[in-house]
């Protein structure tokens, strides 16, 4: 393992060597190495196999911006080897191969590429009818890249919030100068950089013949940034999206910062673009910037003998850098007729390097098995995309290429920015950015260092003006300086493998052929050919695709455009986005008592409630015993989860009157009243009990699962009505029980000494306040289960004390807790509906026999108009009670009611009732099936039919005498 001498190797610490395995073989590296750089340092270039043809692939960008370096890191698939740090002892594997990475048997697919023209799968595998089912399985086996470990347990990831005046994305020269300018003026600045060190292109690019300018400038700018008290720096951090109003997710380590920026300056730079020629995907063929990064960042010699293929002067500077680091440069192949800067070109010539202007690499020649580049065939360019019939071969093990640059437009297009192609510059530029989003540097089409610095300051100055921190007028736009993009760096080869999209193995002809079939729009080209759909999301394929499609369809590149940029900018782990998962799990104040009593718990929304007290398999027996106990003695149920809403203010009664169907204006203080809520369609969506505590004070209950919605509806309506009423959801402020059964008064009398509990003093449907076991309580005498009973609502922190007091006081009366399932049985025996169980999205009051709960007189409540219309129409179905003899196969809730061959309704509630001695239930039936005593068929499990008999409700205690005791 030999490395170049310092100052090469900015990112590595040579004092800290490390060792790891790749594909079963040991390799060495240094702390700070990426996996890819460490492997390259060992002369290992083949990192992965391509998606479709399984071609060998090696480093392309060395910046984590391509799919060539995707590897499997232990349990993690699709890890970017040129971004992930190498660590001692890690075990790295290749991906997507059959056999071994070096000897992938599926590489044979590449030889069959001519049998698989673009979109061939739309024309194959389906004839004769039915064969697709078999083909699909075979094709599916070949899908995907890495392997996901299905046993993996999520690790700890979290989120944090940051707020800054200015967020600068990218710490290249533009970003550094923008950050400094903004910070100097007093703005609080966050500077976000993907790499471990600041400086962007200053850390790897060469800007001058001498090769000293970048280092000097970087030392100065970074030094000032690091000293600045107004600048917070995040390195190894990716700003991974732009969401409305500069809401930016920044991922660093195992954390996602959610950043709010008043002003955002994107100085994201540009992606160097590849040249399209045959075998441009071989390991050893890479972007010029990748070779520079290997040298400057990691002190890795990218090859021994190089050819530099370029469409701008930067290639010459790369050649100088290669020469300085001891790499032989066989030739600089310049696609342009002549270099732009005489000075730079002559510096290369003076080092004895052959320069071929107006030439291109037409084909890269591979070693056996396409493992590496061994030579290139260089031809004179004779026209756009055309070359001479003969050329010269140069041996080399490294080909650096640069066709030009594409702005890193992803965040900006997510923000609504639009790309326009400038035919002269042969480059896309951005326009129509939202307010308070600025761009600077090469993403803004500025390509000379001095101009880039000025552009950073200009962007910062604009931001400062919005912030009110500017010290003068905004400076004028900065001009670009030089041309860096070659117009047509695409040289199709009759034998193909001239890749436009490396991720998806798409060749130049694939793009053209898609347009030939009629897929002219670039979006259709993408969808038909899959160009840009891979992990790198078109970072390198978008520009050549736009050019090829424009050319093939006689449109401009601007008209053609590129496909939509969407978040995230770079692939992000689900764990990062999810963060610490928050799933409320709500326990009532009496939860521990239920557990002690052996309750079978069930979820009710976010809440946990006792279903019954006993083992799951004893459900029916428990329920029946509990229900009999309530009917004969006394039981207690935790109803804390019941929604509670307080309404206070001069308009409280008016508000109640508008929102609920009943009349509430004259509800007496100290009385309760049933409250039904309908929506604007006249559908019943919730119910509860309204208590009037005072003239201007109501306390109304709602269903456990419905209270959030009820509260939201109330807030929504009052936003329009603007009544003088305060509405508060107090559900979690109260704990509550329902004490029910013939002995409930006796139990309560022991505890509620300041309330007159006599039938006259506290009659059915009355409301009282007092103390139960010394606890301030709200007492409602209501009868959901049809027995003498009291709902007792107390401040939540007294919940457990209340429970304990009731259980102790009830001991002599053999008190027993009962659960939600038992309560459902008890209320079913009384024919009381549960909204959402016995109602559906269409149930109106007429179907539910709730006409009595609808005010006849009041002109308005939410849903009034609809209720009136629906009730005036002939009904089609109705909810009825039914019975089946004991021993019949019990219908389940959801089973269908039939009328002839048609579905006429469904069972909503059904249980065996020990009190009635039969199976009882509620069901929607057709309007011709409602007559008491008549029978209707229910289809139960296994398709069997049972005949149910319609009965009048309630099933039990028809005169409702028990609850009124």
């Amino acid at each position: 393992m030999t490395r170049l001498n310092a100052p090469m190797g900015l990112l590595i610490d040579r004092d800290q060597p490390l060792a790891f395995n790749f594909d079963g073989k040991p390799y060495q590296g240094f702390k700070g190495d990426s996996i890819a750089s460490a492997l390259a340092g060992n002369g290992r270039w083949l990192l992965s196999r391509s998606f479709k043809y399984h071609r060998p692939r090696g480093p392309l960008t060395m910046a984590g911006q391509d799919a060539n370096t995707l590897i499997q890191l232990g349990k993690e698939p699709n890890v970017l080897a040129d971004r992930e740090l190498a660590e001692n002892g890690i075990d790295v594997q290749g991906q997507n191969y059959n056999g071994s990475l070096d000897g992938d048997r599926d590489a044979i697919l590449g030889h069959f590429s001519r049998f698989m023209p673009v979109g061939f799968y739309y024309r194959c595998f389906f004839k004769p009818m039915g064969v697709w089912d078999k083909w699909e399985g075979l094709i599916r086996e070949k899908a995907g890249l890495g392997v996901l470990d299905l046993e993996f347990e999520p690790e700890y990831y979290d989120k944090a919030y940051l707020f800054h005046d200015v967020v600068v994305v990218g710490s290249g020269p533009a970003g550094l100068s923008a950050a400094l300018k903004a910070a100097d003026a007093g703005a609080s600045v966050l500077l976000v950089e993907e790499q471990p060190i600041l400086g962007g292109s200053l850390t790897y690019n060469r800007f001058d013949v001498a090769g000293s300018q970048a280092d000097n400038l970087r030392a100065d700018l970074v030094g000032r940034v690091e000293q600045h008290k107004n600048i917070e720096v995040l390195t190894r951090a990716a700003c991974n999206g732009w969401f409305a109003d500069n809401y930016l997710p920044v991922i660093q380590g195992k954390r996602m910062y959610k950043v709010r920026a008043t002003e955002c300056i994107v100085a994201s730079g540009s992606f160097e673009q590849h040249v399209v020629f045959r075998n441009n995907d071989l390991p050893g063929v890479m972007m010029s910037s990748a070779a520079s990064r290997l040298m400057k960042h990691y002190a890795v010699k990218p090859g021994n003998r190089a050819v530099v293929l370029t469409g701008n002067d930067d290639g010459y500077l790369t050649a100088l850098e290669l020469l300085d680091q001891g790499v032989q440069v066989a030739a600089v192949v310049d696609m342009r007729p002549a270099p732009e800067s005489e000075q730079i070109a002559s510096a290369v010539l003076s080092r004895g390097v052959q320069v071929l202007s107006g030439h291109t690499v037409y084909e890269a020649l591979p070693t056996k098995g396409n493992k590496h580049v061994r030579a290139v065939d260089v031809r004179a360019i004779t026209g756009r995309g055309e070359v001479a019939s003969k050329g010269e071969t140069f041996d080399c093990d490294l080909l650096c290429m640069s066709a030009g640059y594409m702005p890193v437009y992803q965040l900006l297009c997510q923000a609504g920015g639009q790309l326009k192609y400038d035919d002269d510059a042969a480059e896309f530029s951005l326009s129509k950015l939202p307010a308070q989003l600025r761009i600077a540097g090469s993403v803004n089409g500025i390509h000379s260092l001095e101009a880039v610095l000025a552009d950073g300051e200009r962007a910062a100055q604009q931001a400062l003006q919005t912030l009110g921190l500017a010290d003068g007028a905004a400076p004028a736009a900065v001009s670009c300086g030089r041309k860096v993009n070659f117009e047509w760096p695409i040289f199709s080869h009759p034998k193909g493998k001239d890749f436009v999209d490396f991720d998806e193995d798409l060749q130049a002809k694939d793009i053209v052929n898609a347009t030939r079939l009629g897929y002219r729009d670039v979006q259709l080209v993408k969808r038909f050919s899959t160009v840009g759909m891979g992990p790198s999301q078109g970072r390198h394929s978008a520009l050549p695709t736009a050019r090829l499609v424009a050319n093939a369809t006689d449109r401009t590149v601007t008209e053609t455009g590129v496909t939509t940029a969407r978040p995230p900018f770079s692939p992000e782990k689900l764990a990062h986005v999810a963060g610490r998962i928050f799933d409320p799990y709500r326990r009532t104040a009496m939860h521990h008592r239920h557990n002690e009593l052996g309750a079978k718990m069930m979820p009710a929304g976010n809440w946990q409630r006792p279903a019954f007290y006993g083992k799951a398999e004893q459900r029916d027996a428990c329920m029946q015993a509990e229900s009999q106990h309530v009917r004969n003695k006394v039981g207690v149920i935790d109803v804390s989860t019941l929604g509670g809403i307080e309404l206070r203010g001069p308009d409280a009664a008016e508000f109640m009157n508008r929102i609920y169907t009943f009349a509430f204006l004259k509800q007496p203080v100290g009385k309760t009243r049933y409250a039904v809520l309908t929506n604007e369609h006249g559908v019943v969506i919730d119910d509860g009990v309204s208590c009037r505590l005072a003239d201007e004070h109501f306390y109304v209950t709602a269903t456990t699962s419905g209270v959030e919605r009820v509260y939201r509806e109330m807030m929504k309506w009052n936003a329009q009505w603007r009544l003088d009423v305060d509405i508060t959801n107090v559900t979690s402020a109260f704990a509550a029980v329902n004490l029910a059964g013939p002995d409930s008064r006796k139990v309560l009398e022991k505890l509620a000494t300041d309330v007159d509990l006599s039938p006259e003093g506290f009659p059915y449907l009355a409301y009282r306040e007092g103390h139960v076991a010394g606890i301030p309580s709200r007492l409602l005498r209501v009868g959901f289960v049809g027995e003498l009973g009291y709902e007792i609502h107390v401040p939540a922190h007294f919940g457990e004390a209340l429970w304990d007091a009731l259980m102790a006081a009830g001991e002599e009366f053999d008190i027993r807790p009962f659960g939600v399932e038992t309560q459902r049985l008890l209320r079913l025996e009384k024919g009381h509906i549960i909204v959402s169980q016995d109602t559906d999205g269409m149930s109106h009051p007429g179907e539910l026999a709730l006409e009595w709960a609808i005010s006849r007189k009041k002109p308005f409540f939410v849903g009034r108009r609809s209720v009136d219309i629906v009730m005036a129409q002939p009904q089609t179905r109705k909810l009825v009670g039914f019975t089946l003899p004991e021993g019949t196969k019990k219908p389940e809730e959801g089973h269908l009611v039939l009328e002839g061959d048609n579905i006429s309704g469904n069972v909503t509630s059904c249980e065996f009732s020990p009190a009635v001695g039969a199976i009882i239930g509620l069901a929607y039936v057709g309007i011709n099936q409602i007559e008491a005593g008549s029978q209707f068929p229910i289809r139960v499990d296994g398709g069997q039919m049972v005949q149910a008999t319609v009965v009048d409700l309630p099933f039990f205690d028809p005169d409702n005498a028990r609850q009124a005791l």
């Binding site: 739309y122 697709w132 899908a143 999520p154 979006q523 995230p568 999810a578 009710a604 269409m842």
Partner: protein, 415 residues
């Protein structure tokens, strides 16, 4: 290797005719018998069946963007018929049957893939609703069962049976559940329609609908005015806006719906799995990517922007369902625009404007209805406005007379 592959390989040049799938752009004619506004799956399917079954080919499909670029491109390609109402089940069952034949009918592989769809119930209320849906489905001959935790574990061994403290109590196992290459469905219809003489005009935006004496007579476009005998609007996401151009209102509220996809990994998940309580559904595509979808955004908007909030909650729930997916990498997030009706069923048929037909209100469930909707809309047009029985329940005036077809429980986050 199938014969067709060999055939391609033995030809020297690209083996297909120029414009073999979609015709080159042409000028607009001044007049057509039928103008279809919207070149998504529904629009081109309607054109296809008009040409194929009714011999009506003087038809222009006008698309403001590119073919199938709206919700056809953005949906997550779930095909199923496990609805709640008789009307819904009958309608979608027909669609599933038609989907199975499409590749061979088009001579173009839409990659129909019957994987089965499993929807999870975490509350007893959902168990009740699922039992009803299974029963309704079976009543109409569908393959849907309510299954228990043990069977769920066998179907999807990687599923966490207690996600977010909500134990999986049961599942609705819809064996007919499937997916297909959604774009290919639009292309197959467009190819079949244009080969029969229908004109497809992309980048042609209808800017106004011309109504004279209560009757549609033409449309104005960015490329000039076109006369027509009748018009169909099939513009999911913009139905109420287009209706406004024709001079009437629709009972529709429009919300964005987002979805997202990961990088490809080796296949491990065959069925489509969804949980309405967690607002999350998950499937693995033929390419190996995992696609996630959830509920609509909480507020109305005509915009396809992405939000961080939805991504955060959706992926948190995805990890609850499949904890190991924490290590997957998300590649792309996008949005479509959905036209929601209050009963979660579509609006098809006549409109207040004579000869102006509606194909709208498809909310989050439009893709799966493409074949049957196209076929019945074509019947409607060809008969001069006689509404086929299958779509009669979905008439817009059902909202005036309170005859909704309520599918609320059958759509949320199941798509």
């Amino acid at each position: 290797m199938p014969f067709s592959l060999l055939k391609y390989g033995l030809k020297n040049d690209y083996p297909f005719e120029r414009d073999a799938d979609l015709p080159a752009p042409t000028e607009l004619k001044p007049s057509y018998d039928v103008v279809i506004i919207g070149g998504g799956g529904h629009g081109v399917a309607t054109a296809y069946y008009l040409a194929k079954y009714h011999g009506i080919t003087n038809v222009a499909v006008l698309e403001k963007g590119y073919l199938g670029g709206g919700n056809t491109a953005r949906n997550t390609a779930v095909i199923r018929s496990n609805y709640l109402t008789s009307e819904g089940v009958k309608f979608y069952s027909e669609s599933v049957k038609m989907f199975k034949e499409l590749s061979n009918e088009f001579d173009f592989n839409i990659m129909y893939s019957q994987r089965g769809q499993l929807t999870l119930a975490h509350t007893d209320a959902t168990v009740r609703a699922f039992r009803q849906r299974a029963e309704v489905n079976k009543h109409f001959g569908g393959n849907t069962e309510l299954i228990g935790p043990q069977e769920i574990k066998e179907l999807v061994p990687t599923l966490n049976m207690n996600p977010a403290h909500m134990p999986v109590l049961a599942g609705l196992w819809h064996m007919d559940g499937a997916t297909a290459r959604h774009d290919a469905v639009a292309w197959g219809y467009a190819k079949g329609a244009t080969q029969r003489g229908v004109e497809l005009h992309q980048l042609t935006e209808v800017t106004d609908v011309i109504v004279e004496n209560g009757k549609v007579t033409g449309v104005k476009t960015n490329r000039g005015t076109v006369q027509c005998g009748c018009a169909i609007q099939a513009v999911a996401g913009h139905s109420s806006l287009m209706a406004a151009k024709a001079g009437f209102r629709m009972p529709i509220t429009t919300y964005p719906l987002q979805a997202m996809v990961t990088q490809p990994v080796k296949p491990f998940l065959d069925p489509l799995v969804s949980s309405s309580a967690l607002h999350c559904y998950v499937q693995q595509t033929g390419r190996g990517e995992i696609v996630f979808g959830g509920g609509s955004d909480p507020y109305p908007l005509y915009n396809t922007r992405s939000t961080l909030e939805l991504k955060e909650s959706l992926l948190a729930h995805a990890i609850e369902m499949f904890p190991f997916m924490a290590n997957l990498r998300l590649m792309r997030q996008w949005a479509g625009i959905t036209d929601m009706t209050s009963d979660y069923s579509p609006i098809m048929g006549l409109s207040p404007v004579e000869n102006y037909y509606l194909d709208a209100g498809w909310g989050t469930w439009g893709f799966k209805s493409t074949p049957i909707c196209g076929k019945t809309m074509a019947e409607l047009v060809a008969s001069g406005g006689k509404v086929p029985e299958l779509i009669a329940p979905f008439a817009m005036d059902r909202f005036d007379v309170f005859r909704q077809v309520n599918e609320m429980g059958a759509t949320a986050a199941s798509h």
